[in-house]
C-alpha cells in the first residue's frame, strides 16, 4: 500500500498554522495578580507559548476561573491518523429513535431484571427507568423502545418466560451482589435456562453490573456485558446495532463508537 503523503496541520486561529487554542480552567486560589501569573505558568508548563490570560474571574472566595489564549507549536500529520471508516458514531436519544424508526420500523422490546437473590435495582433502574442515569435517559423514555423493568429478586425462568411472551428482542440481566461469585453462578444459571427455553443465540442476552465486563459476559455465554459507568444510551445503541446485524441490515463486522470491548 502506498503511504499517503504527509499533511502537517496545526490549530487554526485566524491564520494558517498560528497554533492558537483557547483554554478555560479554574485554580483553587483567590483572585490576585499572583493567581493570574499562576494561570500563565500553568499554561506554559503545558507547552504553550504566547500565553494571554484573557479573563481571570473570582468564581468564589477561594477559586479563580481563567480564560486563556495561547499558541501551540505541536503539529501532526493528518495523513497518519487512522480511524476505521466503518465506525458509526454513537447516536443521541433523538437520532437513535429516528434510526430505529427508519431501519427497524417497529418498537424494540426489552426486558430487564435483577435476577436471583439480588435485591439491588440500582443498575437495572439506571438503564431502564425513565429517569436514567447521569442525565442520560433510560430506555423507558425512548419512544422506539418498549422497556419492561421487572425489578429485583426475579427468578431467571420468570424473566425468560415473560420476555418470551412479548417476543423480546433483548433481555438485560443485572447482577450487583458479588459475594462468593454469586453473580457468576446466577448468570450461568440464567444462560442454562435460556438454552432450555431455546432463546439462546436468538434473543440478545445482556449482562450488567459493577463487577461485569464484556469479556466475562462472553465467557458466561451472554452476547455482551456492561460494567460500571455504562449509560442507558450505550446499551440502547448496542441493542439497535446488534438487532440490525442479526437481521442482516448491517454488516456483521460493522463497528461503532462505544461498543462493548
Amino acid at each position: 500500500m502506498v503511504k499517503p503523503s504527509k499533511q502537517i496541520i496545526r490549530p487554526y486561529g485566524d491564520r494558517r498554522d498560528d497554533g492558537v487554542v483557547q483554554l478555560s480552567f479554574t485554580l483553587p486560589v483567590p483572585l490576585s495578580e499572583k493567581a493570574k501569573e499562576a494561570a500563565a505558568v500553568f499554561t506554559k508548563k503545558m507547552g504553550f507559548t504566547d500565553v494571554k490570560v484573557a479573563a481571570a474571574e473570582r468564581a468564589a472566595d477561594a477559586y479563580t476561573f481563567f480564560i486563556v489564549y495561547a499558541r501551540s507549536s505541536v503539529a501532526l500529520d493528518y495523513a497518519e491518523i487512522d480511524v476505521p471508516e466503518v465506525v458509526v458514531k454513537k447516536m443521541s436519544f433523538d437520532d437513535l429513535n429516528a434510526f430505529i424508526k427508519e431501519k427497524v420500523k417497529r418498537r424494540i422490546v426489552v426486558f430487564g431484571a435483577c435476577t436471583g437473590t439480588d435485591t439491588h435495582t440500582v443498575g437495572i433502574d439506571a438503564i431502564l427507568n425513565m429517569k436514567g442515569y447521569a442525565g442520560d435517559y433510560g430506555l423507558e423514555r425512548y419512544p422506539w423502545f418498549e422497556a419492561f423493568n421487572l425489578g429485583s429478586q426475579v427468578p431467571n425462568e420468570d424473566l425468560i418466560k415473560r420476555a418470551m411472551a412479548r417476543n423480546a428482542d433483548a433481555i438485560l440481566v443485572s447482577q450487583v451482589v458479588t459475594q462468593r461469585d454469586v453473580h457468576k453462578d446466577n448468570s450461568r444459571h440464567f444462560i442454562e435456562a435460556a438454552k432450555a427455553a431455546g432463546i439462546h443465540g436468538k434473543v440478545q442476552l445482556l449482562l450488567g453490573g459493577p463487577r461485569v465486563d464484556h469479556k466475562l459476559a462472553l465467557e458466561l455465554g451472554f452476547d455482551a456485558g456492561f460494567g460500571p459507568g455504562t449509560k442507558p444510551s450505550d446499551v440502547a445503541n448496542y441493542i439497535v446495532h446488534a438487532l440490525l446485524k442479526k437481521e442482516g441490515k448491517e454488516p456483521k463486522d460493522a463497528h461503532y463508537q462505544g461498543e462493548p470491548q
Binding site: 468564581a59 477559586y63 427507568n129 425513565m130 447521569a134 442525565g135
Partner: protein, 516 residues
C-alpha cells in the same frame, strides 16, 4: 401582568375540574396509611437513630408492627403502649415493642385507651412545638439577611460526598446562588427507608439523610451570615419516603423540597396508591414548616415533545395545585414547575416559550413558579448551550418566575464543573439586572402569536382535565395522558406498604397538622 389571554371564568372552571378529579383520591387517602407515613410518625417522636447494620429504628419498629398485623392502628398507638409499659425513651420503646409479641398485649379499658391517646397527643403537641421553634429560627435568619428579589437563582451540587457538596455549595453561594439543591444518589427514591448519618459515597448524587441535611444547612447558615444574604436549601421529597424526607427536611430547616403528587408514579414507577397517600402527609408537613414545594411538570416535556405536550403541563399543574391546597399549602409555597424545552431548531421558539410561561403565570398569579432550563435539546457545543440558557433567563425574568434553575453549558456532558456554575450565575445576574421590569413595559397583543398559542394550549388543557374528570385520574394515568407514561393502579413499587386504617386508627400528627 402579560395579557389576560384567557377569561377568569375559564381558569376557575379548570380549577373546579381539578377539584373534582382529586376528590375520589381523597377517599383513598383518608381510608389508608402507609409504612412510610407510620415511620414519619415515629420520627416525629424522636426516633431518628439506626440499629444494627444501619437499619433505621423507625423501619425496625414499623416492620415489626406490620408483621404482627397491627400497624393499621397506627404506629403512634403502639408507641403509646410501649410508653405505658414503662419505656423511658423512644429507643427503649422500640426495644420493648420489638421484644413483645404485640398480639399478646392485654386489651385496655376504654378509659385507659382514652388516657393513652391523650398522653400521646400531648407528646405529639410538644414535638410539633419543638419543630415550630426550629422553623422560627430559620425565619429569624431569613429576616435578618433578606433574600434578593426573584427569580431566585437555583443551582445543583452532586458530588456524592456531603463534605465536597458543602465546598461546592459555599462556592456557588459566593458566586451569587440563592438556592442550593443537593441531588440525590441514583435510585434513592426506590429505597423504602431513609439512610442514616453523614454519607461520603453516592452514585450521581448524595444520599438524602437527616444528618446530611443538617451539615449542609449549617454550612449555608454560616455562608448566609458572611454574605448577609440568606441562602436557601432544597432536596427531594419524592419516591417511597416522601413524608419521612419532608419531616427530616422540616426538622433541619430546609427551605424547599421537590414534591410532586404524581412524579413518582410516572417517572419512578412507584405505586399510585402509595404515592397519593404519601404525598398528602408530606405536604401537610411542608405546609406547617413553611417549605416551598417544587412540582415536576417539567419532566413531562423531557419525555414527550414540549410543543405537543404543552397542555399536559398546564393540566397537571392544576391537579398538583389542588392536591397541595388540600394539604394546607399556601400560594406562596407553590413552586409550580415548568420548563424551557421546545426544540430550538423550530421557528418562533422564543415566542412559544414566552407564551407557555406567560400562560402558567396567568393561571397561577400568586405562586412563585419554578422554571427549569433547557436540557432535552442541549448540545455539547457549550457556546451554543450557553446562549440557549440565556434565552431561558430572559423568559424567566419576563414572566416573573420565582425560582429559576440555571442551565449549565455542560448540561449534556457531565455534572457541572465549579466554573460552569459561576458562568451561569454571572450571566443570569446580568439578564435579571438588564431586563427587570420588562413585563411592565410591553403589552402582549391579544391577537398575536403568543396569545393565540396560549389560548390553544389552555383549551387543550381544559379538555384533558375534562377527560381526567370523566374517566378518573387512575384511568387517565393508565392511558398515558401525562408524560406519555402508562401506569396501573396496582402496579409499580411499594403497594405492599399500603394498609387500610383500622376504625380506631390513631395518628396525632395528622390530626394536629390538619387542625393547623
Amino acid at each position: 401582568m402579560p395579557g389576560p389571554f384567557i377569561e377568569d371564568a375559564r381558569i376557575e372552571h379548570a380549577r373546579k375540574l381539578a377539584d373534582e378529579i382529586v376528590n375520589p383520591i381523597f377517599d383513598l387517602i383518608r381510608r389508608n396509611t402507609t409504612v412510610s407515613t407510620e415511620r414519619t410518625v415515629l420520627r416525629f417522636f424522636g426516633l431518628s437513630g439506626a440499629g444494627a447494620r444501619g437499619v433505621p429504628l423507625a423501619n425496625l419498629m414499623v416492620d415489626k408492627l406490620k408483621a404482627a398485623g397491627v400497624l393499621n392502628k397506627g404506629a403512634a398507638y403502639w408507641y403509646g403502649r410501649a410508653l405505658q409499659l414503662g419505656a423511658k425513651s423512644p429507643l427503649e420503646a422500640v426495644e420493648r415493642l420489638t421484644a413483645l409479641p404485640t398480639e399478646k398485649l392485654a386489651p385496655l379499658s376504654p378509659e385507659q385507651e382514652h388516657n393513652l391517646r391523650e398522653e400521646v397527643r400531648a407528646e405529639a403537641r410538644a414535638a410539633l412545638d419543638d419543630l415550630k421553634a426550629r422553623i422560627a429560627q430559620r425565619e429569624e435568619l431569613r429576616k435578618q439577611f433578606p433574600m434578593p428579589p426573584a427569580p431566585h437563582k437555583y443551582v445543583i451540587v452532586a458530588t456524592g460526598n456531603i463534605y465536597d457538596d458543602v465546598d461546592q455549595a459555599r462556592a456557588a453561594a459566593q458566586a451569587g446562588a440563592d438556592v442550593i439543591a443537593v441531588i440525590r444518589s441514583t435510585a434513592q427514591s426506590l429505597l423504602d427507608y431513609v439512610p442514616h448519618g453523614a454519607t461520603t459515597e453516592g452514585y450521581g448524587g448524595t444520599y438524602a439523610t437527616q444528618e446530611n441535611f443538617r451539615i449542609m444547612r449549617e454550612a449555608l447558615d454560616d455562608e448566609s451570615r458572611k454574605l448577609k444574604r440568606y441562602i436557601q436549601l432544597t432536596n427531594y421529597s419524592s419516591g417511597l419516603c416522601m413524608s419521612e424526607i419532608a419531616f427530616c427536611a422540616a426538622y433541619e430547616k430546609l427551605d424547599m423540597l421537590l414534591n410532586d403528587a404524581m412524579y413518582g408514579i410516572l417517572f419512578r414507577d412507584i405505586n399510585m396508591r402509595r404515592t397519593f397517600i404519601d404525598q398528602y402527609f408530606s405536604r401537610r408537613i411542608c405546609a406547617l414548616a413553611g417549605i416551598i414545594i417544587n412540582t415536576g411538570e417539567d419532566n413531562y416535556i423531557t419525555t414527550a415533545d414540549a410543543y405537543d405536550a404543552a397542555h399536559t403541563v398546564i393540566a397537571s399543574q392544576f391537579i398538583n395545585e389542588c392536591f397541595a391546597k388540600r394539604a394546607g399549602l399556601k400560594d406562596w409555597q407553590l413552586g409550580i414547575g415548568h420548563a424551557y424545552e421546545i426544540d430550538p431548531y423550530r421557528e418562533d421558539t422564543l415566542l412559544l416559550e414566552l407564551s407557555q410561561a406567560m400562560l402558567v403565570r396567568r393561571c397561577f398569579p400568586d405562586a412563585p413558579l419554578k422554571y427549569m432550563p433547557p436540557t432535552k435539546h442541549k448540545e455539547t457545543d457549550i457556546f451554543f448551550s450557553h446562549t440557549y440558557d440565556v434565552m431561558a433567563n430572559l423568559v424567566a425574568m419576563w414572566t416573573r418566575q420565582g425560582i429559576q434553575l440555571l442551565g449549565m453549558m455542560t448540561e449534556a456532558m457531565h455534572t457541572p464543573l465549579l466554573a460552569d456554575r459561576y458562568v451561569a450565575l454571572k450571566s443570569a445576574a446580568y439578564i435579571h439586572r438588564a431586563a427587570r421590569g420588562i413585563d411592565e413595559e410591553f403589552t402582549v397583543r391579544e391577537d398575536g402569536k403568543i396569545a393565540n398559542r396560549a389560548r390553544e394550549v389552555f383549551a387543550r388543557a381544559e379538555q384533558l382535565l375534562q377527560e381526567c374528570r370523566d374517566e378518573g385520574m387512575v384511568t387517565a394515568i393508565g392511558r398515558g395522558h401525562f408524560g406519555d407514561v402508562k401506569r396501573e393502579e396496582t402496579g409499580g413499587k411499594g403497594l405492599d406498604g399500603v394498609l387500610e386504617k383500622a376504625p380506631d386508627y390513631f395518628n396525632p400528627f395528622l390530626e394536629l397538622l390538619e387542625a393547623q
